[in-house]
Symmetry: C2
Subunit: 238 residues, 2 copies
């Protein structure tokens, strides 16, 4: 994939990369697309020189050696601060994602800039699904992915922000186990697991912003990324 600019035709670039790699796309294939290139194509990028940090952002940034303009952008992208301590901001974005720095990120972005998460990752996924489907002449499923940290585990893993053409949750409730016992509480986040599988070949430094995951036919169908967000009523860590 070439570097993606704000006026890029992302479905076209992905279709060209597929053709260039000699890939044949089949049913059950899911395209996992890094949030970063979706944000770039949608112009969800901010020049830090244009950001005037609030006094609070500047003070907090100074205390922890962070860039005041980046902290300001993080706060603007947040609708609720979950934790803000020790130089780390965990917040809820306007979409409802709870993650570090509200998804604001400076890696693989031109110097002096940061990307924001796409305005509506499900709409972005639906747009890619339509555009890529038209170019490939077949229906496709899309996951727009991003790496998130976890409260109690080291390292980040890839998760699904936006989804189109895929059922993100596999509900095993009502099924039975090997002893005929009914499963009561198991719902598998297959879209997140597919995103994590894809990350293994995408990588932060490998520069593969799109991966094709095969064999996912069982999970194709209706769905979106919002289904993966835990509602506030069952959130025990607000």
């Amino acid at each position: 994939m070439p570097e993606v600019s704000p006026d890029a035709d992302l479905p076209q670039l992905i279709a060209e990369a597929i053709a260039g790699a000699g890939l044949t796309i089949g049913s059950g294939d899911v395209f996992v697309v890094a949030q970063k290139i979706v944000s770039k194509a949608e112009g969800a990028i901010v020049s830090l020189a244009d950001v005037a940090p609030s006094q609070a952002a500047a003070e907090w940034a100074g205390k922890y050696g962070r860039d005041p303009a980046v902290v300001e952008v993080v706060l603007r992208e947040s609708r609720r601060i979950v934790r803000m301590d020790r130089g780390v901001i965990i917040s809820e974005t306007r979409h409802g994602f709870i993650c570090a720095n509200a998804g604001v990120d400076a890696s693989n972005v031109p110097p002096g800039c940061v990307t924001l998460l796409p305005r509506d990752p499900d709409a972005s996924a639906a747009g890619l699904q339509a555009g890529l489907g038209a170019r490939l002449g077949r229906s496709v499923a899309i996951i727009i992915s991003c790496t998130f940290g976890r409260p109690w585990r080291e390292g980040v893993v890839n998760v699904a922000l936006g989804v189109a053409g895929l059922t993100p949750l596999l509900d095993c409730r009502g099924g039975t186990d090997a002893f005929g016992r009914r499963l009561h509480s198991t719902v598998i986040a297959v879209a997140d697991e597919i995103a994590s599988a894809a990350e293994l070949v995408m990588g932060k430094t490998a520069g593969n912003p799109v991966a094709v995951v095969r064999g996912a036919a069982a999970w194709l169908g209706e769905g979106n990324g919002r289904m993966l967000l835990r509602p506030p009523a069952t959130d025990m860590f607000r």
Copy 2:
């Protein structure tokens, strides 16, 4: 794989299943093994009829319609309660895992019983690595996996509890992005991503307690599952 009993020779059963499936094991292959069969083979299983619930366990279980004996086992397996509300117990196990019900689980277990997590999942992984390696005549890498929920996302995903022969964290700090910018904070939890990829073919109801993930040669090496545990000092959600 047949049903695993407490006296089972797990490396032998896995080696037989590989031979039966006609699989050739190559370098860079990682065996992902469901915690459930490891616990069964190690006898980490409790008959609920033998458990006398404390009054506190009984009262809490009654309030939320849960089995008092299961709640008692969960509390015994916990060294710290993180949240205990609305019928849900999130606790820290003696190993340091923070998860629902301390990993105590009744699915795919004979009626009236629950499994505990293995006493030492890294030792279990090392044992499987040695035993399976001897039977296959080559070195192998092992992940013992379990599905964990997430505080802010619906559904569970597979993660790595015990690890042998694999570096669980890929440290990108010090690397550079496409713009030559140094990556400051990115560490990828590849062992968890491999476990999640494997779950897609293992499944709760599919009854495949072992999966082979190929192409992982880049991450083979020294490591263990404890490396994936966030230390208390950086835990913002205790």
